[in-house]
Symmetry: C2
Subunit: 102 residues, 2 copies
Protein backbone atom coordinates (compact mmCIF):
# COMPACT_ATOMS: atom_id res chain seq x y z
CA UNK A 1 0.00 0.00 0.00
CA UNK A 2 1.44 3.33 -0.99
CA UNK A 3 0.22 6.86 -0.58
CA UNK A 4 -0.07 9.08 -3.60
CA UNK A 5 -1.01 12.71 -3.09
CA UNK A 6 -2.78 14.88 -5.63
CA UNK A 7 -2.55 18.62 -4.98
CA UNK A 8 -5.03 20.80 -6.80
CA UNK A 9 -4.34 24.55 -6.80
CA UNK A 10 -5.93 27.42 -8.71
CA UNK A 11 -3.78 28.47 -11.66
CA UNK A 12 -1.51 31.44 -10.82
CA UNK A 13 -3.52 33.80 -13.07
CA UNK A 14 -6.80 32.95 -11.32
CA UNK A 15 -7.77 35.11 -8.37
CA UNK A 16 -7.75 33.21 -5.06
CA UNK A 17 -9.98 35.08 -2.59
CA UNK A 18 -9.58 32.42 0.14
CA UNK A 19 -5.80 32.67 0.03
CA UNK A 20 -5.95 36.47 -0.08
CA UNK A 21 -8.20 36.54 2.97
CA UNK A 22 -5.69 34.41 4.87
CA UNK A 23 -2.75 36.52 3.69
CA UNK A 24 -4.41 39.78 4.70
CA UNK A 25 -5.39 38.42 8.10
CA UNK A 26 -1.87 37.31 9.04
CA UNK A 27 -0.33 40.73 9.92
CA UNK A 28 -3.37 41.53 12.05
CA UNK A 29 -2.75 38.29 13.92
CA UNK A 30 0.92 39.10 14.44
CA UNK A 31 2.49 37.05 11.64
CA UNK A 32 4.65 39.18 9.36
CA UNK A 33 6.80 38.16 6.42
CA UNK A 34 4.33 36.08 4.38
CA UNK A 35 3.99 37.81 1.01
CA UNK A 36 1.44 35.50 -0.61
CA UNK A 37 -0.90 32.68 0.33
CA UNK A 38 -2.70 30.35 -2.07
CA UNK A 39 -5.26 27.86 -0.82
CA UNK A 40 -6.03 24.62 -2.61
CA UNK A 41 -7.10 21.04 -2.15
CA UNK A 42 -5.11 18.00 -1.21
CA UNK A 43 -6.25 14.44 -1.94
CA UNK A 44 -4.48 11.53 -0.26
CA UNK A 45 -5.03 8.29 -2.20
CA UNK A 46 -4.15 4.92 -0.68
CA UNK A 47 -3.17 2.88 -3.72
CA UNK A 48 -3.25 -0.94 -3.70
CA UNK A 49 -0.37 -2.70 -5.42
CA UNK A 50 2.82 -1.19 -6.80
CA UNK A 51 2.96 2.49 -7.66
CA UNK A 52 4.68 2.07 -11.00
CA UNK A 53 4.53 4.12 -14.17
CA UNK A 54 1.24 2.51 -15.15
CA UNK A 55 -0.45 3.23 -11.83
CA UNK A 56 0.84 6.81 -11.88
CA UNK A 57 -0.42 7.29 -15.42
CA UNK A 58 -3.88 6.20 -14.27
CA UNK A 59 -3.70 8.55 -11.30
CA UNK A 60 -2.71 11.43 -13.58
CA UNK A 61 -5.73 10.65 -15.75
CA UNK A 62 -7.96 10.44 -12.67
CA UNK A 63 -6.68 13.76 -11.35
CA UNK A 64 -7.08 15.45 -14.71
CA UNK A 65 -10.60 14.21 -15.42
CA UNK A 66 -12.07 14.09 -11.97
CA UNK A 67 -10.17 15.86 -9.17
CA UNK A 68 -9.11 19.03 -10.93
CA UNK A 69 -10.96 21.46 -13.16
CA UNK A 70 -8.07 22.01 -15.56
CA UNK A 71 -9.64 25.16 -17.00
CA UNK A 72 -8.86 27.02 -13.79
CA UNK A 73 -6.77 24.57 -11.72
CA UNK A 74 -3.35 22.95 -11.92
CA UNK A 75 -2.61 19.64 -10.25
CA UNK A 76 0.53 17.87 -9.09
CA UNK A 77 0.84 14.16 -8.36
CA UNK A 78 3.32 13.33 -5.59
CA UNK A 79 4.47 10.01 -4.18
CA UNK A 80 4.99 9.98 -0.43
CA UNK A 81 7.90 7.94 0.92
CA UNK A 82 8.21 6.38 4.38
CA UNK A 83 9.73 9.58 5.83
CA UNK A 84 6.81 11.68 4.65
CA UNK A 85 8.81 13.34 1.88
CA UNK A 86 6.74 14.01 -1.20
CA UNK A 87 8.32 13.88 -4.63
CA UNK A 88 6.39 15.16 -7.66
CA UNK A 89 6.06 12.75 -10.60
CA UNK A 90 5.23 13.74 -14.15
CA UNK A 91 3.01 11.52 -16.26
CA UNK A 92 4.83 9.32 -18.75
CA UNK A 93 8.36 10.27 -17.75
CA UNK A 94 11.18 8.12 -16.44
CA UNK A 95 10.72 9.81 -13.10
CA UNK A 96 7.50 7.87 -12.73
CA UNK A 97 9.22 4.50 -13.17
CA UNK A 98 12.25 5.53 -11.07
CA UNK A 99 9.84 6.26 -8.30
CA UNK A 100 8.21 2.82 -8.32
CA UNK A 101 7.19 1.88 -4.80
CA UNK A 102 6.21 -1.69 -3.98
CA UNK B 1 11.71 33.86 -1.16
CA UNK B 2 10.86 30.31 -0.20
CA UNK B 3 7.71 28.32 -0.38
CA UNK B 4 6.39 26.65 2.74
CA UNK B 5 3.38 24.40 2.46
CA UNK B 6 0.90 23.70 5.25
CA UNK B 7 -1.29 20.64 4.71
CA UNK B 8 -4.40 20.40 6.84
CA UNK B 9 -6.17 17.03 6.92
CA UNK B 10 -8.99 15.69 9.06
CA UNK B 11 -7.65 13.43 11.81
CA UNK B 12 -7.82 9.73 10.85
CA UNK B 13 -10.60 9.05 13.38
CA UNK B 14 -12.80 11.81 11.94
CA UNK B 15 -15.22 10.80 9.19
CA UNK B 16 -14.36 12.40 5.83
CA UNK B 17 -17.51 12.40 3.67
CA UNK B 18 -15.84 14.34 0.84
CA UNK B 19 -13.04 11.80 0.56
CA UNK B 20 -15.49 8.91 0.80
CA UNK B 21 -17.60 10.34 -1.98
CA UNK B 22 -14.52 10.55 -4.22
CA UNK B 23 -13.42 7.03 -3.27
CA UNK B 24 -16.83 5.52 -3.99
CA UNK B 25 -17.09 7.30 -7.32
CA UNK B 26 -13.75 6.04 -8.65
CA UNK B 27 -14.75 2.43 -9.57
CA UNK B 28 -17.84 3.76 -11.35
CA UNK B 29 -15.54 5.99 -13.38
CA UNK B 30 -13.24 3.10 -14.24
CA UNK B 31 -10.47 3.66 -11.68
CA UNK B 32 -9.85 0.56 -9.57
CA UNK B 33 -7.24 -0.06 -6.89
CA UNK B 34 -7.69 3.00 -4.69
CA UNK B 35 -8.68 1.76 -1.25
CA UNK B 36 -9.06 5.08 0.55
CA UNK B 37 -9.24 8.78 -0.25
CA UNK B 38 -8.97 11.64 2.23
CA UNK B 39 -9.54 15.22 1.17
CA UNK B 40 -7.96 18.16 2.92
CA UNK B 41 -6.62 21.65 2.44
CA UNK B 42 -3.28 22.86 1.17
CA UNK B 43 -1.90 26.32 1.90
CA UNK B 44 1.11 27.58 -0.05
CA UNK B 45 2.88 30.39 1.82
CA UNK B 46 5.50 32.55 0.11
CA UNK B 47 7.84 33.43 2.95
CA UNK B 48 10.13 36.46 2.83
CA UNK B 49 13.62 36.00 4.17
CA UNK B 50 15.34 32.79 5.25
CA UNK B 51 13.25 29.79 6.22
CA UNK B 52 15.20 28.92 9.35
CA UNK B 53 14.13 27.29 12.59
CA UNK B 54 12.69 30.56 13.85
CA UNK B 55 10.56 31.15 10.74
CA UNK B 56 9.36 27.55 10.79
CA UNK B 57 8.44 27.83 14.46
CA UNK B 58 6.31 30.87 13.63
CA UNK B 59 4.69 29.03 10.73
CA UNK B 60 3.91 26.08 13.01
CA UNK B 61 2.27 28.47 15.45
CA UNK B 62 0.35 30.14 12.61
CA UNK B 63 -0.86 26.79 11.28
CA UNK B 64 -1.86 25.58 14.72
CA UNK B 65 -3.76 28.70 15.74
CA UNK B 66 -5.19 29.84 12.46
CA UNK B 67 -5.09 27.38 9.55
CA UNK B 68 -6.06 24.15 11.32
CA UNK B 69 -8.77 23.32 13.80
CA UNK B 70 -6.62 21.02 15.90
CA UNK B 71 -9.64 19.47 17.61
CA UNK B 72 -10.50 17.64 14.39
CA UNK B 73 -7.58 18.34 12.06
CA UNK B 74 -3.88 17.49 11.83
CA UNK B 75 -1.42 19.69 9.99
CA UNK B 76 1.99 19.17 8.44
CA UNK B 77 4.46 21.92 7.55
CA UNK B 78 6.61 21.14 4.52
CA UNK B 79 9.43 23.09 2.89
CA UNK B 80 9.47 22.93 -0.90
CA UNK B 81 12.85 22.77 -2.62
CA UNK B 82 13.71 23.92 -6.13
CA UNK B 83 12.77 20.51 -7.62
CA UNK B 84 9.30 20.63 -6.08
CA UNK B 85 10.13 18.00 -3.47
CA UNK B 86 8.40 18.65 -0.17
CA UNK B 87 10.06 17.64 3.07
CA UNK B 88 8.08 17.73 6.32
CA UNK B 89 9.61 19.71 9.19
CA UNK B 90 8.72 19.33 12.85
CA UNK B 91 8.61 22.37 15.10
CA UNK B 92 11.64 22.85 17.28
CA UNK B 93 13.67 19.93 15.96
CA UNK B 94 17.05 19.88 14.27
CA UNK B 95 15.25 18.97 11.07
CA UNK B 96 13.97 22.52 10.98
CA UNK B 97 17.44 24.03 11.10
CA UNK B 98 18.90 21.43 8.73
CA UNK B 99 16.27 22.51 6.28
CA UNK B 100 17.16 26.19 6.37
CA UNK B 101 16.60 27.69 2.95
CA UNK B 102 17.99 31.12 2.12
Amino acid sequence: MARVVVDVMLKPEILDPQGQAVQRALPRLGFEGVSDVRQGKRFELEVEGPVDGDALARIHELAETFLANTVIEDFTVRVQDADGNERPVEAGTDAASEGAVA
